[in-house]
Amino acid sequence: MFEQYDTEGFFDELFESGGNPRTFAQPLIQRIDSMPKEDLFRRQTEADAAFMNMGVTFTVYGENEGTERIFPFDIIPRLVDGREWETVEKGLKQRICALNLFINDVYNDQKILKDGVVPADLILSAASFREQCIGLKPPRGIWCHITGTDLIRDKDGSFYVLEDNLRCPSGVSYVLENRHILKRTFPYVFQTSQIRAIDDYPNRLRDLLEYLAPDPVANPSVAVLTPGVYNSAYFEHSFLARQMGVELVEGRDLVVRNGFVYMRTTKGFQRVNVLYRRIDDDFLDPKAFNPESLLGVPGLFDSYRQGKIALVNAPGTGIADDKVIYAFVPKIIKYYLDEDPILPNVPTYVCSEPDDMKYVLENLDTLVVKAANESGGYGMLVGVHSTEEQRADFAERIKANPRNYIAQPTISLSRAPVIVGDHFEGRHVDLRPFILYGEDIFVLPGGLTRVALKKGSLVVNSSQGGGSKDTWVVADQYQPMRRMEQTQTASMAQAS
C-alpha cells in the first residue's frame, strides 16, 4: 500500500530514504500491507466516530457554533526506536532536573544571576516572573511536577528540544485515548510487537500528587482544578480526574478558611490537601495575582505559602519556559549539573542581544520568529511562508520590544505518513513526551505526536489545523507470547 509513498527528501519516522520501512516499523507496515485498503479506511472512519461518541474533544476559541471539535486523529502510529528512546529519556530527565534547580534558585538565592550565567534583567523583566513566589519553598522542593517538552527532529534525524512547557501542559489525555483506540485498531500488531505501555500514567500521576501532600495524612484529598467546561482542555481535566478517581473542582467549589482550603460538598465542607491546578498563575487567586479573575480562589496562594496545600505545578514555573530563557537552558544544565546537555536546543537568536537582533532582522525570510510569552502557535512568524507585509509587521514588533522575541532557523521537521483520501502522504510531526517529577523523575514512553495535517505546513498546534497520532516506543525484536501450557484437566488435577 506504500508503493507510491515518497519521503521527498525529508527524514521520515517510518521509512528510510530508500523507501524501505525502518527495522522497528516492519511488523506494522507488513500488517498494513496485508490489509485490504477499504479495511484500513474503515478503521480510520471507526476511530473518528469513536472519538466523537466518547466526546474526546477540544474547544476552539472565537467561534460560536460547533465550538467543540474532535482533535483529528490519524490511525497510522508514529514509531520510535526503543534504544533511541533511552537517550531521549535520559536527556529529558537531565533537563527537568536542571530546570527545577533553576526555578528554585531564581526565587530563592539567585546564584545563577549573581554568577552572571543568565542576565538578571532578562529574568526580572520576564512576564512570567512572579514576584509573589520569591522565598517560596514548595513541598519536597519540587516546582515543575508535570512537564510536556516539545521535541522535533531535523533532516539528519536527530532530536532537538523546541520548547519546555512547564506551566499546565496539555495533551496527555489524547495520548491515552489514542492508545486506547489503536489497541482496537491494530490488536494483532500489539500482540506481536513490544510496544512500551503507557496505561499506568494516571496511577503515577495520583501517586505523585499524594506524595506532595503537605501534612502527613493517611488519605490525602486530591483534586483537579479546572476553569470549567468552556476551557479548551476541559476534556482532559475531566479525563484525568476520572482516571485518577479524584474530584474535579472549579474555583467556585472551593473556599479558604483559617488558611485551609475546603470544597463545598453535599455534606458540608471538606479539606483539600493537593490541587492539580489547570488554571494559569494569573487566574489562580485574585488576591495574589490578577484581581479580575473570577475563576480563582481568593486566599489560595496564601494558603500555599503557609504550606497548607500543595499546588501542582507550583506557581512561577513559567519563568523556565519563557522562550528567551530557553536559549540559556544548555548553560543552565552545565551550571547546576556540570554536564553537557544530552538533548540539544535548536539554535536560538535572542533579540535583546543587539548582534542577534541585527541578524534576525536581516534574515526574517528564512527564520521562525516567536513571541516569548505566547503559545498554541499564536504570535509566530514562519519566514519561508510569510508575506512581505507580515515580515515588515514583525520587524516593527521586534524593534519595539526586542526582549519579547527570539528567532530560530527553519527546521525542516521530520515527517510521517498519514492517510489522505485513499492514499498516504508525508506530513510534518513533532513529539511531546510527558515527564512527572515526584519521588523520582518518570518519562512516559512515547508521548503526543502532533501532526500538521495541512500539506507542507509546519504548525502542528491543534488550534491551527493540527492532528495527532499514537506514539509507539518499540523494541526492535519481539518475543512471541508464552504459550498457555496449563489446560483445564491439568489444573483440575492440581486441585484434587
Partner: protein
C-alpha cells in the same frame, strides 16, 4: 460529593426525563387527533397549555397548529423545554461531571444528543415524527438503564434517581391534566366511546395501557386517575415516583424515611404522605385540575428545598462546619 456535581447529576437526569415526557405528550396528541371524528377541529393548544408557556408560544408562533406545536416542543432551540433543549442541557450537565458518571452514561447521552441534533437539522416530515418520539423514549430508557447498571448506587446515583422521579411525577400529573384541556366535541360525549378513547390514549402515553388493563379491565375515568396518580406499583404513577424520590433523598442524608433532618426531607415527606392518604374520590370531589395544579406547586417547593439544602453555593459556610471537618472525617 461536590454540591456543583450533585446538582449537575440531578439536572442531567431531570432533563433526560423531561425530554422523554415531552415526546410522550406530543405523541399522545397525535394519537388523539387521529381518533377525533372527522370535521372536528384539531386541538393542539392543550399541548401548549400544559407546558405552562402558552404566552411565550403565542408571541413567537401565533395560533397553535400541528406543525408549529411540533416544532416548538421538539426542535425549538430557543424554548428551554423543547426536547432538543432538554437534551442539550442534559449533555452540558453530563459534560461537567464526566469524571463522576460512568463512561457508558456519557457515551449514551452524547450519542442521544448528537442524533437529535442531526434530526433537527433535516426537518423530519410529520408522519415520521412518531418514530422519532419512540426513539427519544427509548434513548431515555436506555440512559436510565445504563445509569442503573453501570453507576455505583451511591450518593450520585441517588441524586440522579431523585431527579428522574421528581421530574416524572410532575410530568405524569401534566399528562393526566391534558384530559382537562381537551374538549369533547359535545358535552354529552362524556362517557361515550370518544371519551374512553381519550382516556386510553392518556394511559398509553404513560406506557400504562396494558398494566392498567391487567388490573382494572375496563376503562373508567376514576380508575385511570387512580392508576396514574395513586398506584403504588406502576412506575410512572405520581405516588410511586414520590416514594422512590423520598427513598433516594433519605439515602443521601442517611436518615430513616418517616423522619426529617432538613427541609427537603420535610417537604417531600409531607407531600408523599398526603398523597398516600388521599382517595381518588376526594381528588375528584375537589376537582381534578385543581388537585393537580396544587400538587405541581408543592412539588416545585420540594425542588426549591432540595436546591437550598444541597446545591446552593451562595449560603455562607458556618464556623460549625469547619470545626467539624478540620480533621477530615470522610
Amino acid at each position: 460529593m461536590l454540591s456543583r456535581v450533585a446538582s449537575a447529576i440531578y439536572w442531567m437526569s431531570r432533563y433526560i426525563e423531561r425530554a422523554e415526557n415531552v415526546a410522550r405528550f406530543v405523541d399522545v396528541n397525535f394519537k388523539l387527533m387521529l381518533d377525533m371524528p372527522s370535521g372536528t377541529h384539531n386541538q393542539w393548544d392543550p399541548l401548549v397549555s400544559i407546558t405552562g408557556d402558552l404566552e411565550w408560544f403565542k408571541k413567537k408562533y401565533g395560533e397553535p397548529t400541528q406543525a408549529n406545536v411540533v416544532q416548538f416542543l421538539t426542535f425549538d432551540s430557543e424554548y428551554p423545554n423543547s426536547i432538543y433543549s432538554c437534551l442539550e442541557m442534559a449533555r452540558e450537565n453530563a459534560r461537567s461531571v464526566r469524571e463522576v458518571i460512568s463512561s457508558e452514561m456519557w457515551e449514551q447521552i452524547n450519542t442521544f444528543y448528537l442524533s437529535t441534533k442531526k434530526a433537527a437539522g433535516v426537518k423530519l416530515s410529520l408522519d415520521r415524527m412518531h418514530d422519532f418520539y419512540a426513539k427519544v423514549r427509548d434513548g431515555s430508557h436506555l440512559f436510565s438503564g445504563i445509569t442503573d447498571g453501570t453507576m455505583s448506587h451511591g450518593e450520585g446515583w441517588n441524586f440522579a434517581r431523585m431527579g428522574r422521579m421528581l421530574e416524572r411525577a410532575d410530568k405524569t400529573s401534566r399528562i393526566v391534566d391534558i384530559k382537562y384541556f381537551i374538549l369533547l366535541p359535545r358535552s354529552y360525549d362524556v362517557g361515550t366511546p370518544i371519551d374512553n378513547i381519550q382516556w386510553s390514549a392518556l394511559l398509553s402515553s404513560a406506557s400504562g395501557f396494558h398494566m392498567y388493563k391487567k388490573q382494572y379491565g375496563h376503562i373508567d375515568p376514576n380508575n385511570v386517575a387512580q392508576f396514574l396518580i395513586l398506584d403504588r406499583h406502576f412506575p410512572r404513577s405520581i405516588s410511586f415516583c414520590l416514594i422512590r424520590a423520598e427513598q433516594s433523598l433519605h439515602e443521601i442524608s442517611n436518615t430513616p424515611v418517616g423522619t426529617f433532618s432538613n427541609e427537603a426531607e420535610q417537604y417531600l415527606g409531607r407531600l408523599r404522605s398526603d398523597l398516600n392518604f388521599t382517595s381518588i374520590k376526594e381528588i375528584v370531589g375537589q376537582g381534578m385540575h385543581e388537585f393537580l395544579d396544587g400538587f405541581q406547586i408543592k412539588l416545585n417547593e420540594v425542588g426549591e428545598k432540595i436546591h437550598q439544602t444541597f446545591f446552593d453555593l451562595s449560603v455562607g459556610p458556618s464556623e460549625h462546619f469547619f470545626k467539624q471537618d478540620l480533621y477530615q472525617v470522610n
